[in-house]
C-alpha cells in the first residue's frame, strides 16, 4: 500500500497535539494516511486520516520501542509496506524511530522540519538551527522520519469520508524493558505559566553568581525569573522555572530572553508569547527569528543599564 504509517503518540489517555505534525507531513507527501494508535484513547477528529489501526494494548506497552517494532512489523505484514513510517520528534518518537531503523535497516531522518515537494528533499536542522541539511533517502523504503512539532500542522487536510477502522490484536510484549510508573514534577509556589512578564536567562549568563543580579532586575521590573535548560540543569534555578518542551510552555505578555540562543526545544515553549524581546551578543542567534524585538549586546551591560534606569 502506498501510504504513510503514522505512529500516534498517546500519553495518559490524551492524543498529543504534536501528532498533527505527522498527519500534516503525510498530507504534504500526498500519501494515504494510516494512523496506528493504542486502543484506549482516541480523540482525533474523525476525518483527518484515511485509516486508523487500533492496537489492542495499553499506551505504555505501545510506546515501548521493543514492542513498537513488533507492532509496526505486524501492521506491515497485514496491511502492506508503507512508504513512510512517521513519528513525532519527541522523547518516545526519537527512541522508537531509531530502534525501528536499526531493527530493519531503514533510512532514518530525525527532526524533519521542512519538505520540498519538487525535489523530494527533507530539511533537518544542524547546529541548533544555524544551518539546515537538505537530505534524501537512498536506502530501501519505508523511510522513517521524526517530525518537529509545530512544523506541519497547517497541512492537515480533512478527508471526504470517515476513516476505515482496523485492529491489531495479540501484540507480543517484550519483558526486557517494562514500564513501572509515571513520575510527576514537584509543585512549587511560583508558576511561570501564570506570569505576565518573564525574564528568562540562558547559558549566556555565564555563571551562578550572576543569578542574584538577574533576580534583582526581575524584582525591579516586577517580572518572574525563568530560564533555558542549561541554567536549570546546573541547578542555578529550580526545575519548575524551565521554559521549553521538557519544561513549561508559557505565554506571557512579555518574554524577555537574555543569553538564550533559540534552540527549537526552547522556542517551542515560548513562541506564542505576545511580545518577545531577545538580547544576545550573536547577531546570528536563531532566537532573533522568533523575537519581535532584538538587541545585539552583552546581556550584563543591558542588565546594569536597565537597573540603573529603573532605580532612577
Amino acid at each position: 500500500m502506498s501510504c504513510a504509517l503514522i505512529v500516534g503518540e498517546v500519553r495518559r489517555g490524551i492524543f498529543e497535539e504534536r501528532n498533527l505534525d505527522t498527519i500534516g507531513i503525510s498530507s504534504l507527501l500526498g500519501k494515504e494516511t494510516c494512523l496506528l494508535i493504542p486502543d484506549n484513547a482516541y480523540t482525533i477528529s474523525e476525518k483527518q486520516v484515511d485509516t486508523i489501526i487500533k492496537v489492542k494494548t495499553d499506551e505504555e506497552a505501545f510506546l515501548n520501542p521493543l514492542n513498537l517494532v513488533g507492532i509496526v512489523e505486524q501492521a506491515m505484514n497485514t496491511y502492506g509496506k508503507p512508504d513512510f513510517v512517521l513519528f513525532t520528534h519527541s522523547s518516545s518518537g526519537m527512541e522508537s524511530a531509531a530502534y525501528l531503523s536499526g531493527s530493519f535497516g531503514l533510512p532514518l531522518i530525525t527532526d524533519v522540519s521542512g519538505y520540498d515537494k519538487d525535489t523530494g528533499a527533507f530539511y533537518k536542522s544542524y547546529y541548533s538551527d544555524k544551518i539546515f541539511g537538505e537530505f534524501r533517502c537512498v536506502g530501501q523504503a519505508p523511510y522513517v522520519l521524526t517530525v518537529r512539532s509545530g512544523s506541519f500542522k497547517e497541512f492537515v487536510a480533512e478527508k471526504a469520508t470517515s476513516p476505515k477502522i482496523e485492529f491489531i490484536e495479540n501484540v507480543a510484549v517484550n519483558t526486557s524493558r517494562t514500564f513501572i510508573e509515571y513520575v510527576e514534577e514537584e509543585k512549587t509556589e511560583i508558576d511561570i505559566t501564570k506570569a505576565e512578564f518573564l525574564l528568562s536567562v540562558g547559558r549566556g549568563i555565564g555563571n551562578k553568581d550572576e543569578i542574584p543580579n538577574y533576580e534583582e532586575l526581575a524584582g525591579l521590573l516586577r517580572a518572574v525569573l525563568s530560564g533555558s535548560r542549561p541554567v536549570i540543569d546546573k541547578m542555578w534555578l529550580p526545575k519548575p522555572r524551565q521554559v521549553g518542551t521538557s519544561g513549561k510552555t508559557v505565554k506571557p505578555k512579555v518574554y524577555l530572553a537574555m543569553g538564550i540562543s533559540g534552540a527549537f526545544q526552547h522556542i517551542a515553549g515560548m513562541k506564542d508569547s505576545d511580545c518577545i524581546i531577545a538580547v544576545n551578543k550573536d547577531a546570528g542567534a536563531p532566537i532573533f527569528q522568533y523575537a519581535h524585538y532584538g538587541i545585539v549586546a552583552d546581556m550584563h551591560k543591558v542588565r546594569d543599564k536597565l537597573k540603573e534606569m529603573v532605580k532612577g
Binding site: 522523547s91 536499526g102 514500564f179 524581546i277 550573536d282
Partner: protein, 259 residues
C-alpha cells in the same frame, strides 16, 4: 559492571557565524573552537559514577578524526579507564552508518559490555539516534532520555526517562542494554588542564574505521547545506545602550506589564 560510553568532539557554534562554502557542499568549520559534546559529558559522568558505586570499568569510545583523542583524554581525566578512537577519514552524516561502524567494531574486537551509554544527541547534527540504532543492531533493550538511574542490579537497572512538560516515567531495563543520557542527570565533575595532561599518559588505542566498514552503507545523504529560511524576524533595536534600554522599558510599559 563493564560500561562503554560514546563521546564525540563537536564544533562550538553557539556564538559563531557559520558559513556555507561553494554551492552548498560544505559548512566552513575551519575557524571554530571544538569541545566535548555537552550531552556526552553527562554520559561519561554517569558511567564513572556507576562504576564507582558498583565496581567495574568504563571505556570511552569516540568515532572521529585524530583530534578526537582530546575528548578521550578528557573522559580519562574524569575517571574512565581506557579510550578507544575509531578514526574515520570523512564525517559519516548518516547515523545508521555510524551505528553500524560502532556495531562492527564491538563485534570484531569482541568488546564485552553490560551497558552502553551515549549522550541524548550530538550538538552538531542533533540526530539523537545512534544509540537506538546500535541497540537494535545488538538486539538489546534501549532507553533514551535517561534523567535518573535509581537502582543498579546485576541483571537490570531501574531508571527514569524524561518525557515532555516535566513528566517522567520510571522503567526497568534488563542488562545488557543501551541508554542515552539526558543533560541534568548529574553535575559533571570539574576536570583541570593538569588532569587532562596527566590522562595523556594513559594509553589510548586507535583503530581505523576502514577495518570495520563491512556491510556499511549510508541510507540517507545530504544533498546540500542551506541557511535557515528567514521568518518574520525581529525589529532590531540599535543605538547607545541607554537609548536601547529606554526602548525596552517603553515596550514593556506599552504592553502593560510595567509602570
Amino acid at each position: 559492571m563493564n560500561i562503554l560510553v560514546f563521546t564525540k568532539r563537536v564544533p562550538a557554534t553557539q556564538e559563531e557565524e557559520l558559513r556555507i562554502l561553494g554551492d552548498g557542499k560544505e559548512v566552513d568549520l575551519s575557524k571554530l573552537p571544538f569541545k566535548v559534546n555537552d550531552w556526552d559529558n553527562y554520559a561519561v559522568e554517569e558511567a564513572v559514577r556507576i562504576a564507582e558505586k558498583t565496581g567495574g570499568t568504563v571505556t570511552a569510545i569516540s568515532i572521529g578524526d585524530a583530534e578526537s583523542d582530546e575528548v578521550l583524554r578528557r573522559a580519562i581525566a574524569m575517571g574512565v579507564k581506557d579510550g578507544f578512537l575509531i578514526e574515520v577519514e570523512k564525517v559519516l552524516q548518516d547515523p545508521y552508518a555510524r551505528a553500524m561502524l560502532a556495531y562492527n567494531f564491538l563485534k570484531k574486537e569482541n568488546i564485552p559490555f553490560d551497558t552502553i551509554l551515549t549522550g541524548v544527541q550530538s550538538e552538531d547534527d542533533q540526530f539523537a539516534s545512534v544509540g537506538g540504532i546500535l541497540a537494535a543492531l545488538l538486539k538489546v533493550p534501549y532507553s533514551s532520555m535517561v534523567i535518573g538511574i535509581d537502582n543498579v542490579e546485576n541483571d537490570h537497572l531501574i531508571l527514569r526517562r524524561e518525557l515532555e512538560g516535566g513528566l517522567q516515567e520510571r522503567v526497568k531495563v534488563m542488562l545488557p542494554s543501551v541508554l542515552s543520557i539526558q543533560s541534568g542527570i548529574n553535575e559533571p565533575r570539574y576536570v583541570s588542564i593538569m588532569g587532562v595532561r596527566k590522562a595523556s599518559k594513559v594509553e589510548r588505542k586507535v583503530f581505523k574505521a576502514k577495518d570495520y566498514e563491512e556491510s556499511m552503507s549510508s541510507l540517507i545523504e545530504v544533498v546540500k547545506w542551506v541557511y535557515p529560511l528567514k521568518k518574520g524576524g525581529a525589529t532590531m533595536l540599535s543605538g547607545e545602550l541607554e537609548e536601547i534600554c529606554k526602548q525596552i522599558l517603553g515596550i514593556i510599559k506599552e504592553k502593560g506589564v510595567y509602570q
